[in-house]
């Protein structure tokens, strides 16, 4: 990878990757070059125009559709369906009890088992989830944060039981805890022990799982909670800087783990603002990694990201209109240079997608990929006065936030982020932005088609995916039978080891977590074994 900003250096780098076997020409037969305009070119610092020299000219983004509902077997079926239809990576949604570290038989879980994702209580559930899928041949993303190291342990144990070594596993586990306190609110432990768990996971994967991304630093949920585009950008990258500082403090070299960090952004409906945001994200990350954190390896400077279209922009009214929204947002994600993309299904304002609506969502990005020509030219809007200005403006606004956090943390972004969580800065900023938006809508200053205006023709929602009570009944029986069949003495010993390791911050938690799930300790039992030591987090209810 070249860091020389010259055209010749880019051409040389570009030539090293074979192009896709398609005709790079317009519909009318006009041949198009891979790039137009000025440098620095794609793959050249600060990577504003793209992280790789050839981008989609050599390989399209990964079409990674998020799926999960009901039982592990149900979701396994959906995974196989998506792979059959040309999906190229798996992405797992867990149900709320699983995300919160609660088993399906917890009193907190009642009414929520399998509703927002798949229910996972024990290792046998994870084995069902990935049954008959070659884990050495797919890349898997798992969206879970508070209990991420436990779910990671289950994935490793599942793979090894099927004969796939952990070093062969490719994928991402979200494990971005900062944005949980800031936006998504799926935390278990207080921030500092949570960060210790994440640094353990980073150390473990750095040493043993070279193809794994241990954190996906996520702005998606910050945006969905109501932030502006610039806040999404700023808070996400600040969280990324904080993880870098935490890892360095834990003794890792920045170039050992930074290449495995990845990001996750929202693609909302304001097309040019989003593209400016994506471009600014790459430039800011590269600069900070190089200048502030002293990264030497260019790969440490690459802001590679997954994008998902904005769930919050979907309307319950006239839901078919959402297909158009998703298409525009997907196009912004592609022009913005995403490495992978999830397109929302049109019925997701009201429920998890049906098989049909999920297929239309996948087809939407296939249309962007294969029909629009957007994948033929890298950074096609680079050099546009408006988009370049927007990129600069996003960067300027983000830098203001970094300066504030740096001051809050007395020269440390990590401490600034901790402080911003404790003093309500993040939740306050996000709630203010959400309220501003809503007031504008209420006041008629912002039109939402089919909701505030153009409301004729709403036929309501049809054919929503419903998760019946049988999922909860099935899952309760399954959990009871696993508990009955296991060796409880082994479980108790494994859980005692988890608690002991939690009490010693010099020990990496991952080995004892893997042992505990292998003897079929439940997720909640493992969570509680650590909670004894770490305590819990309760947020202040501020409006």
């Amino acid at each position: 990878m070249s860091t020389e900003p010259s055209r010749a250096a880019w051409e040389e780098a570009f030539a090293q990757t074979p192009e896709r076997d398609v005709d790079f020409e317009t519909m009318s037969g006009v041949p198009v070059e891979p790039i137009y305009g000025e440098g620095p070119y794609p793959g050249q610092y600060p990577y504003t125009r793209g992280v790789y020299p050839s981008m989609y000219r050599s390989r399209l983004w990964t079409m990674r559709m998020f799926a999960g509902f009901g039982t592990a077997e149900d979701t396994n079926g959906r995974f196989k369906e998506l792979l059959r239809h040309g999906g190229t990576g798996l992405s797992t949604a867990f149900d709320m009890p699983t995300l919160m570290g609660r088993d399906s038989d917890s009193e907190w879980a009642e009414g929520e088992v399998g509703h927002c994702g798949v229910a996972i209580d024990t290792l046998p559930d994870m084995e069902d989830l990935f049954a008959d899928i070659d884990l050495a041949g797919v890349s898997t993303s798992m969206t879970i944060n508070g209990p991420a190291p436990i779910i990671m342990a289950m994935y490793i144990a599942t793979a090894e039981k099927s004969g796939v070594e952990r070093s062969k596993l490719a994928g991402t586990i979200q494990s971005d805890i900062f944005k949980e306190y800031q936006a998504q609110k799926e935390y278990i432990y207080p921030p500092r022990p949570s960060v210790r768990l994440i640094t353990d996971l980073m150390r473990f994967t750095s040493a043993e799982m070279p193809k794994w991304h241990p954190i996906s630093v996520s702005g998606y949920h910050i945006r969905e909670a109501g932030s502006t585009a610039a806040q999404e950008l700023a808070f996400t990258l600040a969280n990324g800087f904080a993880y870098v500082e935490a890892a360095v403090a834990a003794g890792l070299d920045v170039d050992d783990f930074a290449p495995r960090l990845s990001f996750f952004f929202n693609s909302h409906i304001d097309f040019f603002e989003e593209i400016g945001k994506f471009r600014a994200a790459r430039r800011i990350w590269a600069r900070w990694m190089k200048e502030r954190y002293g990264a030497k390896n260019p790969k440490s400077m690459l802001c590679r990201f997954h994008t998902q279209t904005a769930g919050v922009s979907l309307t319950a009214q006239q839901p078919e209109n959402n297909i158009a929204r998703v298409a525009i947002q997907a196009l912004a994600g592609v022009i913005g240079g995403s490495q992978s993309l999830h397109t929302d299904a049109y019925d997701e304002a009201m429920a998890l997608p049906t098989e049909k609506s999920a297929r239309i969502a996948l087809r939407t990005q296939q249309i962007v990929a294969h029909e629009t020509g957007a994948a033929n030219v890298i950074d096609p809007l680079g050099g546009s006065p408006y988009v370049e200005w927007m990129t600069d403006e996003m960067e300027r606004r983000a830098e203001e936030v970094f300066a504030h956090l740096d001051e809050l943390g007395d020269g440390s972004i990590l401490e600034g982020v901790y402080e911003g969580i404790e003093n309500g800065y993040f939740v306050g900023e996000i709630a203010d932005a959400a309220y501003r938006f809503e007031r504008n809508v209420n006041a008629g200053r912002r039109i939402i088609v089919g909701v505030t205006d153009f409301t004729d023709g709403d036929e309501g929602q049809k054919n929503l995916l419903r998760i019946g009570p049988e999922v909860e009944e099935y899952q309760l029986k399954r959990l009871a039978s696993v508990k009955q069949a296991r060796d409880n003495a082994k479980v108790d010993a494994a859980l005692a080891q988890v608690s002991a390791d939690a009490a010693d911050p010099t020990i990496n938690m991952m080995p004892s977590l893997i042992e505990a799930v292998k003897v079929h300790a439940t997720e909640e039992e493992v969570v509680m074994a650590m909670e004894k030591v770490f305590g819990t987090y309760v947020e202040q209810a501020i409006v």
Binding site: E112, C116, V543
Partner: protein
């Protein structure tokens, strides 16, 4: 305070706002809290991870006129009726209003089971206040 935000005794309406269970989607509830405050309603914002018991306790202590629940996790058919029953069992006469992601086909069932009103996505401030006002016993 607008007239619309006054209870029948002339005092401002007092409304509890809470998320029941594990659901962490609090954007909508916070927006509603601010909308209601701006309209002169007294909001007691309990926030996340509440149980029927913590909500009843707050409703009694704060002498609330209504309980507003926000639900986004498809758990409403289980959780909302449970809240209604808990209110009855506590001997209180306080309406339970549900907002959030509720499919149309579930609204009748929730109303049959004693939920006072169901507000969908896109409800305006006026609609929210009207729903509360119409639900509060005179």
């Amino acid at each position: 305070m607008t007239d619309a935000a006054a209870a029948t005794d002339g005092e401002p309406l007092r409304v509890i706002l809470a998320k029941l269970g594990l659901d962490g989607h609090d954007r909508g509830l916070k927006v509603v809290a601010r909308m209601l405050r701006d309209a002169g309603v007294e909001v007691i914002y309990l926030g996340l991870r509440q149980t029927a018991a913590t909500i009843i306790n707050a409703a009694e202590q704060e002498d609330a006129d209504a309980i507003g629940l926000s639900m986004h996790n498809a758990g409403h058919l289980t959780l909302a009726p449970r809240m209604v029953n808990a209110v009855k069992e506590a001997g209180l006469d306080i309406p339970v209003i549900v907002g959030g992601i509720i499919p149309d086909e579930d609204i009748t069932e929730l109303l049959d089971k004693g939920v006072a009103a169901v507000l969908g996505p896109g409800a305006s401030t006026d609609e929210v206040i009207a729903a509360i006002r119409d639900s509060v016993p005179s």
